[in-house]
Structure formats: structure tokens, C-alpha cells
Symmetry: C2
Subunit: 756 residues, 2 copies
Amino acid sequence: MTVQYKHIGTRRPLIEGREKVTGRTRFVADLQLPGTVYGRPILSPYAHAKITEIDKSEAEALPGVIAVLTAADLPTRDKVIRSRMTATLAKEAVHFVGQPVVLVVAENMMIAEDAVDLVYIDYEPLPAVTNLLTAIEHSSPAVWPNGIPKDESDMGSIHGGGGDDDEATKPTPKYNNIHAENHFERGDITAGFAAADVIIEREYTCNIVHQGYIEPHAAVTVPSPLDDSIDVYAAVQGKFWLRDDLAKLLDLPLHKVRVHSVDVGGGFGAKYGILDGLGASAAVALGRPVKIILSRSDDFLTTMPAPAIHLRVKTGAKQDGTITAIQMEAFCDNGVYFGWAQGWLIGFACGGYYKCDNLQIDVWEVLTHKPPIGAYRAPAMPQGTFALESNIDDMAAALGIAPFDFRRQNAAEPGDPAGNGKPWRTIGFKQCLDALADHPLIANPNLQANEGVGIAIAGWGTNVGPADATCRVDTDGSVVLQTGQVDLTSNSSAFVLIVAESMGVSPSDVVVVNTDTTGAFAPGSGGSQVTYSVAGAVRDAADSAAQQVREIAADMLEAAAADIELIDGQVQVRGVPDKALSLAQVAQNARSKRGGQGPIVGDGKSALPEPSPAASVHLVKVHVDPVSGKVTPRHYVCAQDVGKAINPLLVEGQMHGGMAQGLGFALHEAMIYDENGQLLTGSFLDYDLPQSDQVPTLEAIMVENPSPISPFGMRGVGEPPIIGGAAAVANAIRQAVGVRPTELPIRAEHVWQARL
Amino acid sequence: MTVQYKHIGTRRPLIEGREKVTGRTRFVADLQLPGTVYGRPILSPYAHAKITEIDKSEAEALPGVIAVLTAADLPTRDKVIRSRMTATLAKEAVHFVGQPVVLVVAENMMIAEDAVDLVYIDYEPLPAVTNLLTAIEHSSPAVWPNGIPKDESDMGSIHGGGGDDDEATKPTPKYNNIHAENHFERGDITAGFAAADVIIEREYTCNIVHQGYIEPHAAVTVPSPLDDSIDVYAAVQGKFWLRDDLAKLLDLPLHKVRVHSVDVGGGFGAKYGILDGLGASAAVALGRPVKIILSRSDDFLTTMPAPAIHLRVKTGAKQDGTITAIQMEAFCDNGVYFGWAQGWLIGFACGGYYKCDNLQIDVWEVLTHKPPIGAYRAPAMPQGTFALESNIDDMAAALGIAPFDFRRQNAAEPGDPAGNGKPWRTIGFKQCLDALADHPLIANPNLQANEGVGIAIAGWGTNVGPADATCRVDTDGSVVLQTGQVDLTSNSSAFVLIVAESMGVSPSDVVVVNTDTTGAFAPGSGGSQVTYSVAGAVRDAADSAAQQVREIAADMLEAAAADIELIDGQVQVRGVPDKALSLAQVAQNARSKRGGQGPIVGDGKSALPEPSPAASVHLVKVHVDPVSGKVTPRHYVCAQDVGKAINPLLVEGQMHGGMAQGLGFALHEAMIYDENGQLLTGSFLDYDLPQSDQVPTLEAIMVENPSPISPFGMRGVGEPPIIGGAAAVANAIRQAVGVRPTELPIRAEHVWQARL
């Protein structure tokens, strides 16, 4: 049965679109609060060193300098930190180039910059290990000899304050500098390879990639003039998470840290509050609003990019196309801390792409003296998929089966196991493949010389969490929805459609208010979960408000509530068009009538039992210049199982953006460090973000394969579009010129060399 | 049955007390927003005049002047105004001394002040009528020849834009310049007087009294840099009312006017948004934040004090003390607009003080060329009660019955009619009198020479309106309550007790957040209604949240929800002390468990069917200096029926404040205008606000006579304490020296003269 909606599923322009395209959106850096002072962090120039002296006297003497703060002046990680993201100042040692050591605070940004040059910090360099594959050798120095610092321990000290529990109880490890490991197995991998007619084995390398947001990290904290509470204005994806961290760091009750989410100028998993701890600590210490904006270079040095990953993939298949064994080993470069469960993510998803009885995936998270890695849109999945789908592509070629047909034959379906061995309850690989079967790039690619079409499938578990929402009807008939979300991707532009559907109003009469952390709750805006997690609460809040409207109107119109219908802002008795009220009249009654039903306020809650995984299939057509090896994408099609697109314009935008970023992984982006841990690509001159003229036609095909779990059949949509691009480009190159790329990004010189 | 409470009824220090007594509270004038410009209104020096020319060229040329705005530049009352309070600039004529004519806006306050002197306004004076009793004569000029301007009409024009409907259809009136009239009758007033043994008739005069708040009116409006919405930071008692007016004035949808209520430095009915319309209009016109702070003198000139009232009271009684007739006629000086239903208020309450079969009350609201009057704590009731209770006191003396006994014999009880003829459902005069029967001032006053004890009863209908509230439990176990109230009198310090009671937490773990006008709804903070109106919503929101806690904990503890109890922040199975969780653990589960019950969020609504009237009895002991006539209060006792004091410390504070203000009415305060409508007492040097050393010992006796209507049996408490003081002082003077004061304030020279 297809439900007919009036508003849900319509392409409604984004609420904040006009402000964004006209440059009127205010970001954190645009906030000017009275009495503000400006912080500038001084970053470590060493990958590993002891801090032997900090002389701040000359800087402190500079007129306009408010304070030169060190770890002695501010709360440190002694008190912190669940997330390990919130930066504090290094105390005894530094562990990566870019680690904040001192925070200079001055009356304005220029003075702060001048003062930076007047702070003298002496270091005693210590042995550093910066290369992923070197770090795992037992001959390399240990990044954390006593284990990575625990949540509660002091990461400012040289050796940490004691290792994680699992670290301490671990037997002598196979590799050195391993923080975490994940092992997935099903069937008998040896038997699987024994049964294979063809075995393909290859290694793949992926470089560090930065999220490349346009807005550098910025933080504004305002201490209350009334009490010891603070207001934090943050471009943050997880405001409750940040709030909890700051409360812990500052020893404040939760409600005294009010995080206001400010428009985010690009998140992509990177905006979870790196600077806010420093800014909030300084604001509390100085009793003044503190603003910190990272320069682009500092942002590259001290933030949290996607990890370098080295992978080995070995697959086996029978001549008939049955895949008999999949084996993957991956080493993820964590940098100096934890790895965001990227090992689990690779194993869970990549282990569930294909029907295959015998599987083994081993992932090792490796510590190096580099900045901590962070989440980047579908963490580790572009890399894992690049490796697996390159290998699968080679297998199809070896078996003489068309790559598209080979995927269609083997792609997992509901009931097949994911990487963790549990069956996918719902997964739409087949539906996406079906949607592309007749696409010209498959059915009639019409390739010229040195052109090829690559395909890759891409799966993603997505996330979910509880949320609540409140819906009130105001006396002018407008409907105000309060949520706890961070509106990272214009989720509000979907929610107004849901409310409009329930309340029988125009979406333009729905106002979305995202309250601060004393208000409604929602999970962080990451893991493709926000619209998915919050929509049910929004719908229930609106349905509850609509029911209250029916009951009040029933009294006013002397009819039964069941006979009242809400249409176009009118509240009327079914079949009696004369008996009607405006929604405004009903709200006025509710907010004024003594002994009435009281104001219209509906709340809704959502706590879905599980996420609804999202599949996608990527097709990229490329041209390879045979002289230079230069790869030019010509056309990029992504078919993605979105379950139900609440606002297709919004979903399409998400897909377009993810596809463009996937091309960045494929052909452009890499943070290159030298052997001393010095970043060689710390600006947008050196770091090659794809430009708009380097992105081909993007074709987003929304496949609506409803999830049985969620309201409206929705699925998370944010992350899948980034996953498959690199693999599809690599496979297109193989088809175009017969070269198998094994490193991301794929560089013209490598393609050229491989053709020799 | 007496309900036992753990928190409700405890004397808990006010939440914001520390900030207020240490001077750290931020008021509107303390808000410094970037880019702010400063507005200063130029006020009319004439009570009635035509504006013939405004030359702003010289002022505009002054460096730092942003704009010199007239009615031509800003929206005027063409579009407004339900409340008639929101000031706009005069267009063609002025109608009172103090009416805003021009708004100068400059980069700072000093420049704005300088520019005021450079604006040349020419007026053509017109005949003005400023005296209440002159105005009602048909020979006087009509203030509004075509009737007072309608809500929608243009009050800036000379003759208004058309009269109120009831004005237009009125027959030739008995008096001139009457805006509204109220007539209350029961029984046969002629027969009542015919049956009387004693008749007392006298006239009384009450001068204009100002609310005397410490914080002058101030307004800050910030236009959004994103869209055409505005944020209004207002020290306002009715934020939704203000919001609606501003939206209408500025042609904005309601949600685009976000009113944030800022701490109010004294409201007393005066803070309903006089300046905000001007400030908001200018902010929108100029696209910059605009701040207006009235000087004390301008505040006296242009704001809305309590009316002058002239009253005639005639009562008749039998020798046995039965009151046979009460007749009152009152003329209220509205100034230039409407009169806040003060006529109705006098008649309703004063007509219900006593058992009396024959009653007639006629109240006339009179227009004069003076500032519009406003609401002042229990509007018109100190004046009406002064007149009636003086007369009743003389009657008791004439009958030879002790004043206390005479009241006890005749005071109304439930079932007796109020002034509108409907029976009081609940009224506590008797309970208050009973509570004072053994008080030394009654039982053993021990009076010295020239001392006397006066008594007065005082009743008040109070108000009520619908409200909603939301209650969430955060992951640290704190409880966040959202309401729409303006916390004028620390109502939050009562609400935390209600939430603590329901949720089994400490009141210090309850956080009250008063959202802006896009959030929860509550009636204005006036009419003694806020705690009364909102408490039920607060209780229901907390009860709902508590029930959710029980259900989640029941799952976690594998018990039945009915067996779960919430005590001291713990959630435990009754009788099984080992099976317990902290409230924090339950909230963490609720905000994280997939497939759980979802975040804990309870909403509550309240729409009580009627207010619960509040009675009080006032006893004042005075000393009169026989040489000078100077009256010194020695002791003031008020017994008030509070129904149930949620936080007695808060109620007591309300009573103390009201009693002090009642003494201001009695002995100190008057705004004196000359015959041209010029204010002679426009500063705190000339306007005699009582000083703390002029206030005697204040004894507040809270009588808890539960209302059958409300949660916990509460009643409104804010207004009754101001009502009876003036009457009690007058009656004490009569007892002390035999003089019957007939004018408020009671001046030493009048007492002295009367003794001659």
C-alpha cells in the first residue's frame, strides 16, 4: 500500500537557503559579543618532545595581552574526557605537531598574533614514530608505553596516566602500538580459498584526508555575569556531547553549560568541539567572553582528519561467479588517540556487501605521533570500499563476468549476514542495482578511447538514537516545532513537511526552533541519523497537537472530535464546510479559555530499535589521458536506497555533496607528513580539494525501498554517497586503460607509470 | 484531610536572591549588543496642541546622529493596538505632556541627548482639560470629540480615526468625556437607606500614584541579520501580549517577534511594553540594534500611573449593625485613553466586601489631557477600599460597635454576592479576621496618647489564564522545567518546590528555564495570576515526567512501575532498597537506549475555570503628632488568605512589599499636575516614595484557607497586600485623633487643619 502524502516527498527549497547563498548566515566567527577577548593557540612544532620551559614574560608585557595561559592555568585532561577530542593544553610533553601548548589571549586578534612570537617554549625532542607501517614494528618506540591514556587520565603527562583497561590486560601483542583491534569471522576462510577457482590478492594504501570544511574551527564562550554558568556558541555536530564534556572539564552541573548550536560551515564529522574546551576554560579563568578562530594552517595542523589506512584484500571465487572467500586486513592510523571504532565500521559494513560463506576481517588501530584522527563522513568506509571493490572488480575481470552482473549476482540481500555475522534486516543493494540496470552507463556506455565506466557498491549501517520534540500552535495559526537537533544538513526542511502533513498547514507556517541544551534532546548530527532519529518524535508531537486541535474545535463547533479535519490551516467538520474555524481561532481559544483544554502543546518521543542500513551503487565514467595519466571524471551516477525521501531536494543535495567528496578521496586529497611528523600540505594551496570545475555531472537517483523499521520507511542518507566514489573511479580507470590503482588519491603519475 | 508535603510549603530562599542582592542581575539597560545605537524620545511639552512643524535638519547634521525619526518615518497607531500602551510617535497633534513626538537615534547616549536640543518642533496650543471633575462638565472641551480612537485607528491625528463602537452608539451622556461606565446594582437602594438607622455619606479624593519602580522603562530590540525577524529584550510583565502588539505594529508573523523576558527591576503593573514599540520600529527602520532608556523625569512624564479617583460613598445600617445599603459613585481619571477596566474592578470587589442586600455602584472612566493611566498592583482597589472602608469605619463608630467586630459581623462569606451579583464561590474575609482576633493590636492594643489602630478589609478577584509547561530529566539527574512565564516575583522559587515534590529530587536540582515567545505559553505576570495559573501545568509536567521515570526504571529494575518510588534523586523498588537507580541513570537510559521509551519529557497544561479570590485584613497602628499633624505608622499587620503558600518566604516577601506600597498610597505619593497638565512632581525629589526608615514593622500572617478550585488550594497573592493599607491608616488616624482623612495621600497639614 502506498501512502499518499500532500507535503512529505515534495521538493521544498531549504529554509535557510536564501540566507546561505546570499552570504547572510552568521557563523561562530561572525559573533561579536561585548567584552570579547581573542585567543590564539600556540601549537607544538615537534611530533614528540618534552616541554622543558615556557617563558611568557615578554608576551605578557605586550600591551593588550590579557593572559598567556599554559596547562598550569587551565583544567587539563586530568578531568577529561569521554570524547578525547576537546583540546586542552599539553602539560609535560607534546605528542604531535600541532598539539596546543599555550593559549595567548588578547584584546584583539592582531595583538594575540604578535604575542605568539614573544612566547618562548623550549622543547627536548624525543623519538617519534609517524609512519603507520613502521609504528607496528616492535623496534619502534611506543607512543603510549603504558597504554593510551584513559578517559579520566592525564594525557598532558609524558607517559599518560595509565592505560585503558583492555590495554593493561592484553597479552604480548602481535604488533606494536596497537590501540584496538577488531576481528570478524564466519565460515572457514581456508576452506573458502581452497574451494576457489580464482584468487585475487592485493594491497591498497589510503592517505590521510581532511574533511575540508570551508569554516575553520571557531569557538565562542561567554561566562555568565550572574553565576558560574557559561553559554557556548558552537559550530558543533553534537551539542549534548560537547556540553557533557565541558561540564566535566569545568566541574559544572550540566545545565550550567548551555550549548547553542550555531550554523555549521561544513561539518562532515569534524565538528565535535575541538576548541570549545580551550575557549570555555579560558573564558571561565578570565571571566570574559573568549573567541578563538583557527587560521587555516592551524586548522590543518590541530584538527582531526580521516585516517591513513593500509589494507590487504584477498578474495576467492568459483568460475560460476560464486564468491567463496573474502579476507581483509586493515591497519588504521589513529594518530595519537582512539580511532572512533573505525575498525568495527569497516568490518561490519565491508563484511556484509556480498553473499559469501567464508569471511575473515582483521582491523588494527595503530598509534603514531600524529594528530588524533576524527570521524569523516562514513568513517573508514571510502577506504575500505576502495580496497574491497577494487579487488572484486579484478575478480569479475578474471572470471570474465561483467562487473555490474557480478555485483548483481553476489550483492547481499536481507537475511544475508553483515560483517558481524548478524543478518541484514533490510538492505537495498539489489534495488539500487536494479535501478541502474537500464542506465546508459550500463546498458549503452558508448565509450570512446581511454574511457571507462567503473562501478562500486557501498553499504553503511547508519546510526540512531532517542530524541524528543515539542509542537505548539500559536495564536496566528503558525506551528512552532522545538527540537534538540543540530541542523547540520537542513533537516528542518524535512521536519516542516512532516508537521505540515500532520497539522494540515502549509510548511511555510511551520517554524522550527532548535533549543539550546536545556531544551529538547536529540542525538548528534552524525552517522546519518538525525532526520531518521528525530522524525518520529516530530510526527508524534505534531499528531498530538493535531488531536488537541480536533478536541478543542469539536467543543467550539459542537461536533465530535473524530469528525474534525485539518485542511489548509482550517479546522472543519467533515462534510459541513460552513462549520469551520481557522487554526488561529482554535489556538486563541486554547490560550485564553478558562476551564478549557489549555494551550496546544504536543510532545513526541522517538527511540527506534535500530538503524535502517543504507545501500548505494556508484557508477563513474572517466577519461584517462594516455600521455599524462591524468584522470577526468565525465559523469557520476549514484543510486541510493533512501527508504523514503521526506524532502527530495534535500536528499539530492546530500548525495551531490557526498559524491563530490568521494571524488576528492579518489583523485585529489591527501595530508602528507614527512618522517618527522611535519605536515607538508597544510594549506589549500598544497592540499588539493576538488574544485567545482573538476566535478562532472552528478546524477542522484533516489531509490525508495522503504525500511520496515522507521517512520515513513526512511533511512539515513548523509553518508552513503561518499563511500563508493573512489572505488568506482579506480574501476573505471582499470576499464579505460587497464591500470589497477592501489593508492588513494589516484595520481596521474602513478597511472602513467603503471601504463609503462 | 491535610496533605503532607516534603518541599511544598517550605521557606526556600529565592533562586535569584543572591544575584539581586549582590547587584549582579543584568537588567535591560545593562545589555550591550554590538552595533547598538541609542534612542532618545522628545516628549510633548503641551497637554494638547497641534504639531505645526518639525525641523530636524540641524540635529541630523550633528556627527554621530543616525536618524531623527518622526511619525512619518515609523509605523503609527494606524496599525495598532490592542493594548493602546505601545507608544508610537504623535503625528498631527499631542494629547498630553510627555507624549513622544520625535525619536533621536545616535551612536551613543550623549550625542542623542545633545541632538534633542537641536530638533525644533513648533506647536499650536489647543484647549486642554486636565482636571477630572472639570472634564465631566459639558462646558469642557472634549478630549476625543469623535470618541477615543479605536484599536485600529490613528491616535496620532487630531481627532482620532473614529470612536469606539460603544462610543458611537451611546445616547447623549450624563457627563462629558466619559470613556466607559460600569453600573452594579442589587436589591433596592432606596429601600435600603429607608431601612437604615444611621446613614453616613462622604466624598473622597485619591491622587495619581506612580508605580515607583526602581528601573525606568528600557527597551532593546535587535533586528536579525538573517531575515526580517526581531529579538526584543524586554523588562515586561506580559511578553506574549507585547509580542502580539509588536507583530501587529510591524506587520510581522508572530514567530518573527521573539520577546525575551529580562529581569524586571520593579513591575507593579507598569511594565507592559510602553517603549518597545518605538524601539522595535526604529530597529527595523535602521537595521541596527536600538536601545532606549528613559531618564527618571521622562519616565514620570510618559508612563502609565494609577488614576486619580474621586469617590462618593453612602452607607446605611441598623442599630444592630446590619448594613442595609451601600452606594458608591466613582470617577476615574483615565488620562487620554482607556482605563484598564478599573471601573469594573472597583465595583466587583468593593461590592462584595459585605453582606448587604441593597447596593448600587456607578463608576465613570473620565478622559483628560494627561498621560494614559495604567495598571498599578490591584488597579483602583487601594482607592476604592480607602473610600468604602473609611465610610464603614465611621459607621461602626456611629453605631458604637468596635470596628473589628463590625467587620466580623458583616464581612461576606462564600455564597454572598460579589459586586457583579454572582456569589463568591470562596472568599476568606472571616478566616483572616479570625486569625487576627487574638492579635495584640485587637485584643490588647495598649495605646498611648495620639495613637490609634485602624482596620480595613480588602478583597481581590485575582486573575487566571491557561498555561503550559514542559519538564525534562537530564542525564545528570537534574530536572529542567520550561515555562512561558515572566518571572516577575520569583515564581520560579515556588515552581522548583512543586517539581521537587513530584520528582523526588532536591529543589536545587530543578532548573527553571523561561523560554522566549516561541516556547511555552503563560499568561502575563499580573493580576496575581502567574503561580496560580502555571502551577497546575508545572505539577502535571513533573508528574508526567515522574511517571515516565517509573516506567523506564521498572524495565531496568525488572519491577512493576507501580512499585517504583522516587526519593531523594533515587529511583527504587518499594521495600527493596537494594534495587535502586539514580535518576541520572534512568535519564541516561532514556536518552540512549534504542527501542526504549525515549527521552523523559513531560508536558503539563493548565486552564483553571476561574480565579480564587484573595481576601486580606489590614491593621495599622499609627501615632499622630498633635503639633504638626505628622502621621507615623508604628506597626502594620496583614492577615491574608493565601490558600496555600507554596514557598512562604516568597509569599511573605510579596506581602511585605505590598504593605509598604500601601503606606505610600496612604501617606506619601502623589503625582500633581497643574491646570495646564504640567507635572509638578517629576522626580524622586518631588515625588515622595516612602523610604525604608518610614516603613514600620511589617507583620505578614499567611492564612491558609484552601481554594476548592486550584492545585494545592493556592490563591493569587501579589495584589491583596497593597489594597487595605491606606484605609487602615486613615481609620487609625480617626481613632488616634478623631480626624477623618478624605484625601490620599493623607498629608500632615490636612490632619493638622482638621484638628483645628
